[in-house]
Symmetry: C2
Subunit: 335 residues, 2 copies
C-alpha cells in the first residue's frame, strides 16, 4: 500500500480541488509519549507495532505558515532547508501527496520553540502543524482522525500531535492504516506539569527512525516489548481516569526505561544516555526516595521530561533550576 | 532440595572425617563473564536459568587462609567481619555445611587484590578460594567439578572461579544441581588482555543477588534473555576456538548491554551505569569507529572491563591510562 492510495481514499473527489486560500497557518503542540511508539509494522505508512499514549506540551511546538508560490521553498526556524537533503526530500515527498498539479508549489515556514532533533518530538509537531495548515489552505474540512492519518504519513508520532492533552494512538489492524490514528482523551488534569530538562541541544547521532529500525531488527529483547506496552497502556488510562499520579509516573518512567533497554540491547548498541542523563536520573531517584513525587520519561534523545504536580513545582525547580515548566493544557495563541 | 543434601551426596562417607591438617590456604582468580549468569532457577542451590561463560582475571582474585580454632572468626582484607551481618551469616551458613561436629571452628583470613562489592566478582573468588582451602584442610581430594558444585553453594559465579582461562558453567537440568558446574575450556589465548577500568570503588547500593532477583521478578524483557544467552554462548565458543577477537568482543559487549537492559527495565529500575560509565563507553565506541579493536563488558557494578589484544595495549593505555591490565593466563604465586 502506498501513501498516495491512503490520501486518495480520504480526499476522494476533493483530491483534485485547488487550494481555497493562497496562504494558511497552524500550530501543533509537541507531544511526549508516556507509553512509547517503538517499532513499525509498516515502514511506508508509519504503522506502529503497538498503540501508544501521549501528553501534549501545551504551547511548545511548531507553527507552520504555508503559502502558494512558483517554486517549493522550506524554512525551518528562518533557515532555508536544502531540498536535496534527507529532511528536504522527506518533506517534499509528503507535499507531493497533496500536489494536485505540477504547477502547484508551496513556501513552508515552520517555527519551533523547542530544540530540533533532540528527542523533543520536533518532527511530530512539525508534520502535525503542516497537516493542519494544508487542511486550512485547501479547505478540506477533514475530520480529526483523518488529519491524524495524514500527519502519520509524514512522521508516525505526528498523528498524536494535533491536540492538547492526552492522546491515544490506536495501532489499528488494517493494512491500509485507516484504523491507525490518534484520538484525544477527554480527561483533563490541570495540576499536571512537565519539566523539560534539556541536557544537550546537539542533533543526535542516530535518528529515532533509524534507532527504532535497528532495535526491531537486532534487539533480542524487542519481542517482549508489545506485551509491556499493552500492560502499560491500561495502567496509564486507569491513572488518568482516577488521577493517580504515582501510577502515571511509575508507568511512564518504567515504559521509557524499557524502551531504552530495547535500544541498549540492539547491535550496534543505541545509547541515548549521556553522562548528564544518568546524573539527572540519580537526582530524581534520590528525591523520590526522600518523598518528592517526581518521575521522568525519555525519548530518542538525551533529554529528560520530568513529570510532577503543580504543588511540587517549587521543590522540583529547586533541584532543577534550569527546567522549563510546561502546562500540557496551556493553549497557545496560535492553537 | 537443601544445600546440605548436596554436600552429603558428594562427600558421602568422607563427611564425618575430621580435617587432615590444622591449616590450609588457596588462591582463586576472579572471573568475568563474557556471557553473563543472570537469573536463578533455584535460589537455595544457586542454580542458574542459563549456562554462562567466563575468563579468569589471572592473579587478581582472593587468597584464603583457613585454620582450625576454638571459635569462628572471619577477616576480609584484615578487617574482622561481624558474623551477625548479612555477609557474616551467609559465610557461616556455608561453613556449617562442612562442620563435622559442633566443636569444629574456623578462622578464615581472605585477602583480595580487587575492590570488594564493585562488580569485580569478589564474592566469586572469595568462595572459590575458601572451597579450595576447605578441600586442602579436610584432604577431601575432590574432583574439580565437585569443587565447583561446592563453590556454587556459596555464590553462583564462584563455580567458575576455580581455574585460569575460559570456563563454561553448564546450567544443568537436574533439580539437585549435580550437573550444574564450571568446566575449564582447554583453549589458550595468550594475546588476550583485560583492562580493569575502576570508575568507583564504592560498595554498590544493590547487590548483584538482589538485582538479579528483582530483574527476574519484574522485568518484562527477562523472558527473552535465555534465547540471547544460548545464541551468545555458541558465538563465544566459536570465537575462542578460531581466535576471532572481534567476534569475542562484539558478543561479550552485546551480552553485557543486554543484561543491563533487563535491569533497566526492572522496577524499581536497577541502574549500574554511573555518568563515568557512560563517558567511558562513549570513548570506547569512538575508538572502535576509528579502528581500534577494543570492547567492554560490565557486571553488576559501575566498572568496565576492557577487552583487547596485547598488540593494542599501548594504544588502549593511551586513552585509559588508569587501567590495570590483566593477563588472564598469568599464574599467581598462590595458584
Amino acid at each position: 500500500m502506498k501513501k498516495s492510495d491512503v490520501v486518495s481514499a480520504i480526499l476522494s473527489e476533493r483530491q483534485t480541488a485547488l487550494p481555497r486560500h493562497s496562504s494558511a497557518q497552524a500550530f501543533a503542540p509537541s507531544n511526549i509519549a508516556l507509553c512509547k511508539y517503538w517499532g513499525k509494522r509498516d515502514q511506508e505508512l508509519n504503522l506502529p507495532v503497538t498503540s501508544s499514549f501521549s501528553i501534549s506540551l501545551g504551547n511548545k511546538g511548531a507553527t507552520t505558515e504555508l503559502s502558494l508560490s512558483d517554486q517549493d521553498r522550506v524554512y525551518l526556524n528562518d533557515e532555508k532547508i536544502n531540498l536535496e537533503s534527507a529532511f528536504g526530500k522527506r518533506l517534499l515527498a509528503f507535499l507531493n501527496l497533496f500536489r494536485v498539479n505540477h504547477d502547484l508549489h508551496f513556501v513552508i515556514k515552520t517555527q519551533t520553540n523547542i530544540p530540533v532533533g533532540a528527542g523533543l518530538a520536533s518532527s511530530a509537531c512539525g508534520f502535525a502543524s503542516l497537516t493542519r495548515a494544508l487542511n486550512n489552505l485547501f479547505g478540506w474540512e477533514l475530520q480529526e482522525h483523518e488529519l491524524s492519518i495524514f500527519a502519520r504519513l509524514g512522521s508516525g508520532s505526528a498523528c498524536r500531535s494535533l491536540w492538547q492533552g492526552f492522546v491515544e494512538w490506536h495501532a489499528g489492524l488494517q493494512e491500509n492504516g485507516m484504523d491507525s490514528y490518534g484520538e484525544r482523551i477527554a480527561a483533563e488534569w490541570p495540576e499536571l506539569r512537565i519539566g523539560l530538562l534539556i541536557l544537550s541541544e546537539k542533533e543526535k547521532k542516530i535518528s529515532s527512525r533509524d534507532a527504532m529500525q535497528r532495535t526491531v531488527t537486532t534487539s533480542p529483547l524487542y519481542s517482549a516489548w508489545p506485551a509491556k506496552v499493552s500492560h502499560d497502556l491500561s495502567k496509564l488510562k486507569q491513572a488518568v481516569q482516577s488521577k493517580d499520579f504515582i501510577l502515571l509516573g511509575e508507568t511512564a518512567e518504567s515504559n521509557a526505561m524499557t524502551m531504552h533497554a530495547t535500544m541498549l540491547s540492539a547491535w550496534p548498541t543505541v545509547c541515548y544516555f549521556l553522562p548528564e542523563t544518568i546524573s539527572a536520573m540519580q537526582v530524581i531517584w534520590k528525591l523520590r526516595e526522600e518523598g518528592l513525587m517526581i518521575f521522568f520519561t525519555q525519548d530518542a534523545g538525551p533529554n529528560l521530561k520530568l513529570l510532577f504536580l503543580e504543588k511540587d513545582r517549587d521543590a522540583v525547580q529547586k533541584y532543577f533550576p534550569g527546567i522549563e515548566v510546561v502546562d500540557p493544557y496551556c493553549k497557545s495563541k496560535n492553537a
